[in-house]
Amino acid sequence: MNHTDGAFVDVLQFLIMGIQRGSIYAMVAMGFNMIYNATGIINFAQGEFVVLGGLMMVTLTMAYNLSIVFAFILTVLFLIIAGILMERLTINPVKQPTVLRLIIITIAVSIIIKGAAMVFWGKGSHYMRHFSGTESLDFYGARILPQTLWIFAILFFVVVAYILFFNYTMTGKCMRACAINRDAARLAGINDRKMVMLSFALSAGIGAIAGIIITPIIQMDYARGAMLGLKGFGAAVLGGLGNSMGAVVAGVLLGILEAMGAGYISSHYMDAIALVILLFVLFIRPSGIFGSSEAMRLKEF
Amino acid sequence: MSNSILELEMLRKNFGGVVAVSDLSLHIEKGCVTSLIGPNGAGKTTIFNLVTGFVEPSSGQIKFAGRRLTKMKPHTIASIGIGRTFQNVQIFPKMSVMENIMVGRHLRSRAGIFYSSVLPPFLRKEEKKIQEAAEKQLHFLGLAQHAHLPAGSLPLGNQRMLEIARALALEPRLLLLDEPASGLNARETIAMGELIEKIKQMNITVLLVEHDMELVMDISDYVAVINFGRLIAEGPPAEIQENRDVITAYLGE
């Protein structure tokens, strides 16, 4: 293999790694967007949903030896219930919400989930078996794990399900209506509180899926939530907050930039790359790469 | 008009596809009470927001005492002598009545963060001046007995008075009052009219948006009628009352 081939393989390898990471950011970002669209809240516990999903899956598959499919479904259901509980117990009862108070409430929930995860799963990181083997495949010289293919496939599936749900089901359309104009939706007879609850449920569910599929690769531990949440938020902002398809593209892009940065600049600063991009986007173009600044001004924070 | 203090020239503001103010030209004469009237949504508050820098014009310009206000920030515009009140009263509800007015003295005092936090004894004189000026306003507006109550606890009429007192503390040359009588009862409305007269006597130019026609016709020197963002009539109150266009605008065809 000559030198240029080596460089090409490197790029390909980083690209695969990047898309793999980015898929997770994309799904975290979609979770942010669903709750944001329904409530105008940024859920600071979004990253914790991912951690909880991953750790739950570890227990079900490794300790209880359930099949991957069964454990997958159970974990997602568990997180959906956790999401509903969070909304019912901490968001719904707040009668005079201020932005500051809501932020701190979701932070409190994130601390609680993190603390609970530490108590139940300890401080170590947890290994989980891959969905289908660890024998990596050859892709034009680059290596690709079967788990990575699973991640791509599941992201694709989630995106399709998302589009179908929000465009072709009544509930999805109602949620979109609430996102566009809550008062008008309420006047049209939509139960907006129910939509808020649903958004937490779906958002937690999507977080669980992200946690489940990435855990075999990164080995989940209780403390990963903040970083996953931050990077996912970076993807959400880059794609234009509230715009989930933008978030998918931005998430994958962020993952690729991060992998390239880690490969060509410094792996020590890998985590900082996505965050620096987040800050730049926030400071220079808070409406994201796809959003219009005109529309941004109409949004309340 | 050489005696005008505020000049709007071909002023235009679009919100998306909606034209809120459409190529409007208007001169406000110094020392007078000028009223902007017109149906709801005619663009009156937008004009206030344009003049005070809260909204940037799409085209046209605004001149205050010969200076162009284009691109100036609201706080800069306040500093050159334009005070305002808001349609939905914007007092600082958790601060006391006195403190509200003291905020109005902001531009007439100078203490910065370092002296404020580390060396307050050096500021005692300035603080005393701020306090005295605020007390003067309190007495002028008849709010002295409420000085130490939280502003949010006052009835609406007093809140509107307080908002004006606070703007007056700025010692503005031009004062923009956005529906000062809305929500007030008959007695309070009369008091408001008297107050505006007094403000005029202090040689402060007043620009007024108001729906209470009796009040407007009573205290205005000049009236401008706006509809759909356009100026449809202007003149002394007596003339406006006779104007056919105005009557149509208000009563419809």
Partner: protein, 338 residues
């Protein structure tokens, strides 16, 4: 300072003077010294959150910058601790200015995330810049602080010194709140539009308070470094920034005393819990320090749901309502007698 606040201040001073006579155990005195560091950072954060209404989940980063500037300059370059602390202050002023100007144009959630991102970046740099910060192994041999040539060796001396700085911080905070600038900040909190219409430059004010609060955090970091004489990245992760916000929110966002009480309360809580664990063991419950995070979160959530004004307002508020209802009923009886 006036009225209730100066009474509170007097009580604080007396408390500071008396505490070392009551707490003779060095370990607990040490815990109280750590509480002073947190209190200092929280007072600054309270000015930003409670009075200017801006959230920062990044103040742990300013604490870290203060600590590391002090650590690097004293341990590696043998500078005077005071000069190093001053450098830390100047550095965070510059950083807070550069970060504040773009960040404070953002509101609510965006600002929270931007500051959180900033804190993460600082932590990553602290871990990764091994040549400068010593990386995960940190910096050792940081000297103790001296006061007019007199080295603060004992815990009691450091207790008085650090709490003296806290008292100074409170004095500064109250001065600011009751000044022209403090009124301007409260005005911004009340209505940004009205504040601007009165000539207040909102961005400038927010940035200035952001810088001041960063200075509080930086000094707290420097004092920490001079006390423990050794720093590593461990205590300066994102969790620390979140903890500071928690302290302020639990104590009471809109009141300096609240921030102080929140900081002391949560700083002492682990000790209290481990003390309690002896009793819990009797009931078959084995308490572990690992539960702390869970308990912090639960306290924060409960406070935010049921006492959004914080513990301080919760206590004084209920006391106030008791007093006023007593007064009312007294007034009623008096009225009947007449």
């Amino acid at each position: 300072m006036k009225g209730k606040n100066s009474a509170g201040f007097l009580a604080l001073i007396i408390g500071i003077i008396a505490t070392p006579f009551l707490v003779t155990n060095d370990y607990y005195l040490g815990v109280l010294i750590f509480a002073a560091f947190n209190s200092l950072a929280c007072i600054g954060l309270c000015l930003l959150m409670g009075y200017a209404g801006q959230i920062s989940i990044g103040h742990g980063a300013f604490v870290a910058i203060g600590a590391y500037t002090s650590g690097i300059l004293t341990a590696k370059l043998a500078w005077s601790p005071w000069l190093a602390m001053l450098c830390g202050i100047l550095l965070v002023i510059v950083i807070a200015f550069c970060l504040g100007i773009p960040a404070l144009r953002l509101k609510g959630h965006y600002l929270a995330m931007a500051t959180l991102g900033f804190a993460s970046i600082v932590h990553i740099v602290v871990v990764a810049a091994v040549d400068l910060t010593g990386g995960p192994s940190g910096i050792v041999n940081i000297p103790r602080l001296d006061l007019f040539g007199y080295v603060l060796n004992s815990d009691r001396q450091y207790f008085y010194f650090s709490w003296g700085v806290v008292a100074l911080g409170i004095y500064i905070a109250f001065n600011l709140i009751n000044s022209r600038m403090g009124r301007g900040l409260q005005a911004i909190h009340g209505s940004e539009d009205a504040a601007a219409s009165l000539g207040i430059n909102i961005t400038s004010y927010k940035v200035q308070v952001f810088m001041l609060s960063a200075v509080f955090a930086s000094v707290s970091g420097s004092l920490y470094a001079y006390y423990v004489n050794y720093i590593d990245p461990g205590p300066f992760d994102v969790g620390h920034s979140v903890l500071l916000v928690t302290m302020v929110a639990v104590g009471g966002l809109h009141n300096i005393w609240g921030a102080l009480i929140g900081a002391i309360f949560l700083s002492l809580l682990p000790e209290f819990l481990s003390f309690l664990s002896e009793y819990l063991e009797a009931f078959g419950i084995e308490y572990q320090p690992d539960f702390d995070t869970l308990i912090y979160g639960s306290i924060l959530l409960i406070i935010m749901l049921f006492l959004p004004e914080g513990i301080f307002k919760g206590i004084t508020g209920s006391m106030g309502s008791v007093v006023s209802s007593v007064k009312k009923s007294l007034g009623r009886t008096a009225g009947r007698e007449q």
